[in-house]
Symmetry: C2
Subunit: 370 residues, 2 copies
């Protein structure tokens, strides 16, 4: 089976690495002109001329990047199976649609309002009560296109800084940590859920994901599974879906979802029996889903901006290195290290050992260290 | 780093899958015209015209197939690092040279003689005492180019059947099982040893490898490590080396070695912390060697001739599928399934479960079932 992947970054790369052992082949369709998938045929199409050619070479289509025009996904869906479907893409590209769907399915979210001018931003900031977070409604990830307002007086400056016409404004949520759940749904509607991960961000970028999330209340995990199950079924979703949640004193609050394999699921490559990448390929190919159980405890440590001392990391007997073959650049994800252990205490020190060879890694501040 | 691989079969494929996460790229050089590596650039060179072109695209060279002309490896070594070196290749292509080296290093072998005619074959069969195994000195693998003589009278027929001019004739060894050891040596001489595997063959083809080998005496394992260490150091070897041994009442007896990643090490993909493929790439690239420790117990089940019921295998939560994307053909290795467990008792039943979906799999007959 020939799988076409829209986008050609590291997620596509890891999908392919997981898919070759299942006898799949891959063709990447890249809109940006800077592919990094590194294996498989890559069609660069900056002007949108080669879509038909791409489609003639593949049997079905998935994506590793959700910021592509829904119209493209819809056009593809006329001739090829596209998993997940264009509907999931549409919802995930629009914060208002996403939060509305969450609300309709009974998934708690922060209080939110839309704002289409600096004045409206000021007004909704007053209504919600600061601090609030203002985000571009249709773009932005990894903390880009966002601003925090400590007071309504900051509305004009925030509006200017974000530079978009439609903003979602969310009341700040007092949370103890961010946790995410990754689940997969097959073509036949089968479901499988990974153990949740605790995520640690720094400057808006994910740095650590610890899985299974330490000291997670079983009821909360059950609640998260209910939420993501509702989303998967509502969207008639096929493939891997990620849902980021805040853990608060009042329970879980949904932050956002991503209709694809997700950075907070990279720990599954060695930390679970079947990786999120293999399960995505299984799902979209119509195979049975794989075992999502954890093997011991693990942590994904992102390599950001600089590669650090790779050979020292390779010397650590509990570390697995995954490089994306990308050049160094501030804020860029260059790879990740999966750290394995048999206990959280062991894991904590192993994470610290690894991060000392990665310049700019923030001090580990999470439930393991508090 | 661009790694050139001589040969383009499933071993090259799995080397590449392990090497991409270390930011290596791969070019395959295929002499046969039937590549199956499936990823990376493949240069098919049936007439030997494109070697220079291949070399211009790579920084160093390794191989996944040892039956290539030593002269080719020597020519490459003039301009590029080749790991393992041509000397290892030369020894492994010639049973007489291999067994002589074993003898020089104090590694026990079956009693052997050379025969260059049907008459000589008869004579040495009488000298050694039947049964003996006659094997082409320079070719043959997976049981091809071999014959068993139950009596010296079978010499003429065996000579005819094998059809080669120089045969190694070995006295039959009464062994309780075949076990193999896989080790890796770095450019700096660092060594790492995998736990040994118990191998089960059927009609000359490996069917099961169980690792760590059940009930293995620690002294025997130490002995095997001494042997492979002597070989690695003597050959100034870089990369993964496999050594097949018979376990007998008198201790270990060496069968043969393979200067490459080996089928009896495929269990390491999920059954060890670092796979043999990753460790080979680490070694030839000059990186530190990875942790060779086992994760639980595991068994590699080969998929031979027919793919069987792949989706039923994918449903088993302890099975990992690795397909080579090859067409079905009698005796052909099409893929393998790695079966994981926490105990040998559990493993035994899981192997049986998997093999029921693989037509032609022999009944599991090994130390787990006796």
């Amino acid at each position: 089976m020939r799988i076409g992947v829209l986008g050609a970054g590291q997620l596509g790369r890891m999908l392919a690495l997981a898919g070759y052992p299942l006898a799949k082949t891959f063709v990447f369709y890249d809109l940006s002109g800077s592919p990094s998938a590194g294996l498989g045929e890559i069609i660069i199409d900056r002007d949108g001329k080669y879509l038909d050619d791409f489609l003639s070479r593949v049997d079905r289509v998935t994506y590793e990047f959700e910021h592509l025009p829904v119209a493209v996904a819809e056009k593809i869906a006329e001739s090829h199976p596209v998993y997940p479907g264009p509907k999931a893409l549409e919802v995930c590209q629009n914060r208002q649609a996403e939060k509305t769907l969450f609300g309709n399915l009974g998934i708690p979210t922060p209080q939110w309002r839309m704002a289409s001018s600096a004045e409206q931003l000021r007004t909704v900031a007053e209504e919600l009560g600061c601090p609030v977070v203002a985000k571009s409604n249709t773009e932005g990830y990894d903390g880009k296109g966002q601003a925090v307002l400590r007071s309504p007086d900051e509305a004009a400056a925030a509006w200017e800084a974000i530079g978009h016409q439609h903003l979602m404004v969310e009341k700040f949520v007092a949370f103890s940590r961010e946790i995410s759940i990754i689940a997969v749904r097959g073509i036949d509607g089968d479901l499988a859920f990974y153990p949740m991960a605790e995520n640690v961000h720094d400057q808006g970028i994910l740095r650590y994901s610890i899985a299974p999330a330490p000291e997670l209340n079983a009821d909360l995990e059950e609640e998260a599974r209910r939420y993501i199950k509702a989303l998967l079924n509502e969207l008639d979703y096929v493939g891997v879906l990620a849902l980021e949640l805040f853990e608060t004193a009042e329970g879980l609050v949904a932050n956002e979802m991503a209709p694809r394999v997700h950075n907070s699921g990279h720990w599954t490559m060695e930390g679970a029996f079947t990786s999120q990448f293999e399960n995505h390929i299984r799902a979209i190919s119509g195979h049975p889903l794989g075992n999502t159980g954890a093997r011991g405890v693990s942590c994904m440590v992102n390599i950001i901006a600089e590669h650090g001392d790779i050979d020292r990391i390779l010397e650590l007997p509990y570390a697995h290195l995954h490089l994306y073959a990308k050049g160094e650049r501030p804020g860029r994800k260059l790879g990740h290290v999966n750290v394995l252990a048999d206990s959280y205490e062991e894991l904590k020190w192993r994470i610290r050992n690894v991060s000392q060879f990665l310049p700019g890694s923030p001090e580990l501040d999470c439930s393991l260290t508090r």
